[in-house]
């Protein structure tokens, strides 16, 4: 075990203490645990993530292994013991992020619900984005105000709003702000207010 990381040590320190007791019963739990761990994450890739729920910002370690097709399969998510924020700990939500990451309840493809329709219909990305781009242009053209009643230059699109961003990366949020202001939006909101 030449390459035991500090993280590994942290994770197994508790079990080692237990092993002293159990070994009196005639077997070495530490060894059994080591074998089990080898099976579970041997050869796995360790990646770093951050919990997607509240804003404590707990660090996560995610283990993946490539399947036969070369696609990364998620094996395990646990708290990162190196983090000065969580020191390896997670709450019930953080501890179940695996179920969020690998859910079967995801929306699989773009969907469209026509006016008055009672069901969704599947739509390709190209079709849905083209349709939507046309809606955005129409709304912008119909509700754009270049100068207000007092003659002030205002260049704003009044009939469209964007809201979101508490759950996606900062860099995505930056694009959202940039693009939406570029389209002239004034109704721009995020979870911070609500």
């Amino acid at each position: 075990m030449a390459t035991v990381s500090r993280g590994d040590f942290f994770r197994f320190a508790g079990l080692t203490a237990g092993a002293v007791v159990v070994s009196e019963l005639g077997f070495d739990l530490a060894q059994a645990t080591a074998i089990k761990r080898d099976l579970r994450i041997a050869g796995a890739t360790e990646s770093h993530s951050i919990c997607p729920y509240c804003a404590v910002g707990c660090s996560l370690i995610a283990y993946t292994r490539k399947d036969a097709s070369g696609k990364a399969q998620l094996l395990q998510i646990e708290g990162d013991p190196d983090s000065p924020v969580n020191e390896g700990r997670l709450c019930p939500k953080g501890a179940t992020t695996m179920q969020l990451a690998t859910s079967v309840r995801r929306v699989e493809s773009p969907m469209y619900r026509a006016p008055g329709a009672t069901e969704w219909q599947k739509m390709s990305w190209d079709d849905v984005l083209d349709k939507l781009a046309q809606r955005i242009k129409d709304t912008r053209d119909q509700t754009f105000v270049a100068t207000d009643a007092k003659g002030n230059l205002v260049n704003r699109t009044e009939g469209m709003a964007f809201a979101g961003g508490a759950a996606f990366s900062s860099e995505e949020g930056y694009v959202a702000t940039k693009v939406m202001r570029g389209l002239g939006l004034i109704y721009l909101e995020q979870q911070a207010r609500v």
């Binding site: 404590v56 699989e108 996606f168 860099e171």
Partner: protein, 812 residues
Amino acid sequence: MTNHWRDIKNADVILINGANPAEAHPVGFQWFMRAKLDPARGPGNGGGAKIIHADPRFSRTSAVADQYVRIRTGTDVAYFGGLINYVLQNNKQHADYVAHYTNASFIVKDGYAFKDGLFNSYDPKARKYDLTAWNYETDADGFAHRDMSLKHPRCVFQLMKAHYARYTPEMVQTITGIPKDDFLKIAQIVGEMGRPDKVMTIVYAVGLTQHTTGGQLIRSGAILQLLLGNMGRPGGGLNAERGHANIQGNTDHAISWEILPGYLKIPQPGQTGLDDYVKKSAAKKLDPNSWNFFGTNYKKFIVSLLKAWYGETATKENDFAFGYIPKPAGNSSWMSIYDQALQGKMQGVILSGMTATSIGPDSNQVLAALSKLKWLVVMDAFPTTSSEFWRGPGMTASSVQTEVFMLPTTHWIEKEGSFVNSGRWMQWKDQVIPPEGDSRHDHWILADLFARVKALYQKNPGKFPDPIMHLRMDYKDPIKPTFDELAREINGKYVATGKQVATFAKLADDGSTTAGDWIYTGSYTDKGNLSKRRNGVQDPAKNDPTGMGFYPNWAWSWPLNRRVLYNRASAELAGNPWDPKRPGIKWNGSKWVGDVPDYPPKMSPDDPKAWLPFIMNGEGTGRLFSNGMVDGPLPEHYEPMESPVTNALHASTSTSPVAFLYDKAAGRDNRFGTPSDFPIIATTYRLTEHEHYLTQQIPHLVQLQPEPFVEMPPGLAQEKGIKNGDIVNVRSKRGLMQIRALVTNRVGQLDLGGTKVWQVGIPIHFGFVGVAADMHPERSMNWLANALTPFVGDANSRTPEFKAFLVNIEKA
């Protein structure tokens, strides 16, 4: 947060209001418990920190608190007011700090008055104040007059002393329901925190912000902390616990109607150009020794932003394309969107990771608003109560004419990028697994949509296409910007050399630099992306050199990797820490050492021109009194819009005189209930096992908390003939929830100077979409907590008053 999670362990007292960190931020709560229990904690004085919790509901936070008091929801201004009054009446303030580090000595101009719940300059017709009525008295240079003896009758210290004298322990009891003796016990503990060798932190969450007086509730905490000399210090500060993984980062990047990235104000109609915008937006220097760093450098930050967005099109000659930035007609915040939709003025809404229906307030009104849109886009990994709104409660799908687009997005683990936590720590995450199915990154969808709109404008004429045509999207693939490209752009570069800018101090107003968000300049330098740094608790001796828990090489925090904001105020005038055991920064004779100083690193305290400690505002000091709030320069208690009692301080001005009344202004029917119809006070909150609405898709978490309930006290249950577990109807003027009664002593009755009122609580998380809803398709139609909440918000921020409203409860 002015400070950060780990720093809470440095506190002697942790004052918690409007928050339940043990359940809503459980892992962050370890630092509270370490402050309380860990005898070896930090360099402080060895454990024994006291936790004080004032909350409508007894929670797991209360269970480990040294003092818990049941407070009536929405009355924390009176609670803080009582504490402030106690400090002032008993001279418990940190006198040196108050004199030199706050605006206590500043003299307010003649005419200031407060009577019957109204400050001077009120216009009852417009429901507005003229904020300039609360300016300081100034000299010819525009500098404020000061009286360092704090005796001038119009100096801030004297005005606030008079203002707060009304908040006696008896008045606190009448308004909040906290028994006088319990309150005084807390006041004594808090009062001791004005000693230089003691420090208290205040922690809050949306239990403070989500009121018509939300902004003033926060200011009340800030005022108390300034009086006690606790701002800027490790173990101190005013710490907001944010509720979503990246609510901080994307507020910083200004997905918010009133700002541009880095808290630059959105330009207003009538501002004639860039210079006029800067003049009207930037703070003015109010003291010769005030640096006024933000105000002084405002133009550099806005020009660098415009260069990042409009590149070569932004030139000195065209005001750096300032005219392209849209200028709003008026408030354009969350409720305004749905108000506009109800008025038929809003055509389309794009929601990303937010579900308007559940978020509310007044879900039924929001549903009506959504059905008036021409089109609605929901970008999410899962179906939401907004993507499915057309078959939600009270809806008939065939008559809902709104087109709905559901765009499947990747979620956090399928993409890299940074999350910024409550403590302003920008932490990078890897892409761990590839996108599921056909899902796409949110920003790729937006960039692609933008490119398609641009192509449409290239083909067909339309309104003023220039801001679209010239927006700089010159990424390697313009419809798929990489996270690395964006992180670099946010930091900014020198236009001429393309090199990354190392600090915002180097940004220029001549167009020679770019910065997508100036407060992040320094996060991605020639040394690379600093948010990826991982030198944490694996080696505390090396990675936490001060021993204060700053961990400067773990990730990166804005601004400039500073871990405690305003930290110049952690040291006395001569530069020594107020408490040598808990240093923030310290002057070592040639420079400031410790945390990254919130101050020029080599400015000697002996320099007669040394800047005052709060370098970001015009005063150079903390503001006990402010002309920046639309509802008054000092906080005042106003009743929630729906309240069972009238204001004990001034019955003639019972509720906020300036809160905006959407329904009334738009000519819609009144949606506020009266105490005779709805006599019970209700509030809402989170459960440990859920996070807003997303976790309705997580089977394990739904198993742990499978359906909504109302927590009600045994006395009320008995009055209503309700048993634990019964299904009850909870009604407000606006809607109905049909949920189980959880009869518990965690909530109770309040005695408001003889008037007895019941208070109940309801978790927010449930609705008609998700694992539990699949099992109960009919019942879940009546599970939206925000069906009950009022469509009104804070006078300043328009944050809805989710946390205080009136209901009635009957057995179903």
